[in-house]
């Protein structure tokens, strides 16, 4: 009879390196703060400097060469990446008839491409070490759709499909791939005049409020550390926008 695999201990910080994309603001910055507080050494990848991260690298995540170089540098200087959290993204409200090809392409390259580029750079090492966690930031719009952000919803939907597939592919190695799918979150991606901030919208939500970046970071930290039996999971603090 094959030997029963042992349950891994929770993947705690203890100086391990967590790579966070989109680390300069919003959900990514909150992830950096949450993981730092749990003893992780944080490396932030973003177009802008990430002041909360221990190590900040200016990177366009849609460019595989830039991501590969950044990961090599981080692993050389800080050590192997134990957790990768992919929060880099942008958002726009545009009716589908008005989405120009460059906008469509950019949306897919940043959200899906950014995740793929990071996974290609960090997961071979994780597989070799037999441990590691990837958390992608998807969106409730990937699950429920919306009426004026089809490129965003499509990109986030692709993120979920990718996460579930990679979870199955890497699961036997001990590397866990999961996602969070927040509802409208109180970050700079939602400008003050955003319809998602209007009281008339928030009243329709069972929880009656925007999700906070800190909540999303807490959910992600669970998937990294304590969620040792979660793989291909999509955890959704979304105020009840999609149930």
């Amino acid at each position: 009879m094959p030997e029963r695999p042992e349950r891994p201990e929770s993947l705690a910080g203890q100086g391990r390196v967590a790579l966070v994309t989109g680390a300069a603001s919003g959900i990514g910055a909150a992830m950096v703060r949450e993981l730092s507080g749990r003893g992780w050494t944080t490396a932030g990848l973003d177009l802008s400097p990430a002041p909360d991260a221990d190590h900040s690298v200016g990177v366009d995540v849609s460019d595989p060469a830039q991501v590969g170089a950044a990961v090599r540098r981080i692993e050389r200087e800080l050590g192997p990446v134990g957790a990768a959290l992919c929060a880099a993204g942008h958002y726009a409200i545009v009716p589908v008839s008005d989405i120009a090809w460059p906008e469509w392409r950019r949306m897919l390259r940043v959200h899906l491409g950014g995740l793929v580029n990071v996974c290609r750079a960090v997961t071979p090492g994780m597989v070799e070490r037999g441990e590691g966690a990837v958390v992608a930031v998807a969106s409730e719009l990937a699950i429920g759709g919306g009426d004026a952000e089809a490129h965003y919803a499509a990109a986030k939907g692709a993120v979920i499909g990718f996460v579930r597939s990679l979870a199955v592919e890497l699961g036997p190695s001990g590397v866990r791939v999961n996602a969070v799918a927040p509802g409208p979150t109180d970050t700079p991606l939602l400008p003050p005049e955003s319809p998602w901030r209007k009281a008339s919208y928030l009243q329709t939500l069972p929880a009656g409020r925007l999700t906070s970046a800190e909540e999303v970071a807490l959910a992600a930290a669970y998937l990294v550390e304590d969620g040792t039996f979660c793989a291909g999971e999509v955890l959704s603090p979304n105020a009840g926008a999609v149930i």
């Binding site: 009879m1 029963r4 866990r176 906070s212 959910a219 669970y222 039996f229 979660c230 009840g240 149930i243």
Partner: protein, 248 residues
């Protein structure tokens, strides 16, 4: 931290939840059927024992009143983990046992949620965590009653999530796949194999290559019991090693 009422606390999962929530700082109230004592565990965890058959709504109401009286607080966290499970081919399943499964798992959850609700409203909020099952999502042969009851708990979670969210009460569920507890003996007996063999059979379909430890499911429940997640409502957290990947 809030009083946490855990039903089915004498079982493999329930006991792990009790230990985890006590370690997280909750005052734990441990419920199980009067035939299965939880007094020793309650004493170990500095909690209170709260025996009652959850399928009896009057007994549940009295049990919750007793917990509130003894702890001096309303229940802030409910973990509905009490479950009855037997396996039998559908056509041969004794109707009384079939309904007992539904009455304990789904009816017991209803009774407990209803009993703690007034107190949660009065204290200004709370969290309920319903223990559903992967089989409530995908079904399972020879487990029609269990699967139906657990699917019902998912719909109950979603409806209560919508209904109670505006009151500051967050209702969510975990849907674990097979957990390594003494309950496995039921599955092994039904399949006519050893517990080791049934463990291997279940593990073979899990991408992570093993079945869940009770502590891993308890960790997921602890997350859903965390009041720092006010916008996590009406959701199903699948703790299944990647097997089912978020259907429903």
């Amino acid at each position: 931290m809030a009083v946490a009422l855990i039903t089915g606390a004498g079982g493999g999962l329930g006991a792990a939840v009790a230990r985890r929530l006590a370690a997280d700082g909750h005052l734990v109230a441990l419920n199980d059927h009067p035939d299965r004592s939880v007094a020793a565990l309650a004493a170990e965890l500095d909690g209170v024992a709260a025996p009652a058959d959850v399928a009896d709504p009057e007994a549940v109401e009295a049990m919750v009143a007793d917990v509130e009286q003894r702890t001096g607080e309303h229940v802030g966290v409910l973990v509905a983990a009490a479950a009855h499970m037997t396996m039998a081919p559908f056509a041969a399943h004794d109707p009384d046992d079939w309904w007992r499964i539904v009455d304990v798992n789904l009816g017991g959850t209803f009774a407990c949620a209803q009993a703690v609700l007034p107190g949660m409203v009065e204290r200004g909020g709370g969290r309920m965590v319903l223990v559903s099952s992967e089989w409530g999502l995908i079904g399972w042969p020879d487990a029609t009653a269990y699967s139906a009851s657990k699917a019902g708990m998912i719909a109950l979670t979603k409806s209560l999530g919508r209904e109670l969210g505006p009151l500051g009460i967050a209702v969510n569920a975990v849907a674990p796949s097979v957990i390594d507890t003494p309950q496995l003996e039921v599955d092994a007996t039904a399949a006519g194999v050893s517990v080791d063999e049934i463990r291997e059979r279940y593990a073979a379909r899990v991408p992570l290559g093993r079945i869940a430890a009770p502590e891993e499911v308890a960790a997921a429940i602890a997350l859903l019991a965390d009041d720092r997640l006010p916008t996590l409502v009406g959701q199903i957290l699948h703790v299944n090693g990647g097997t089912t990947r978020s259907r429903a």
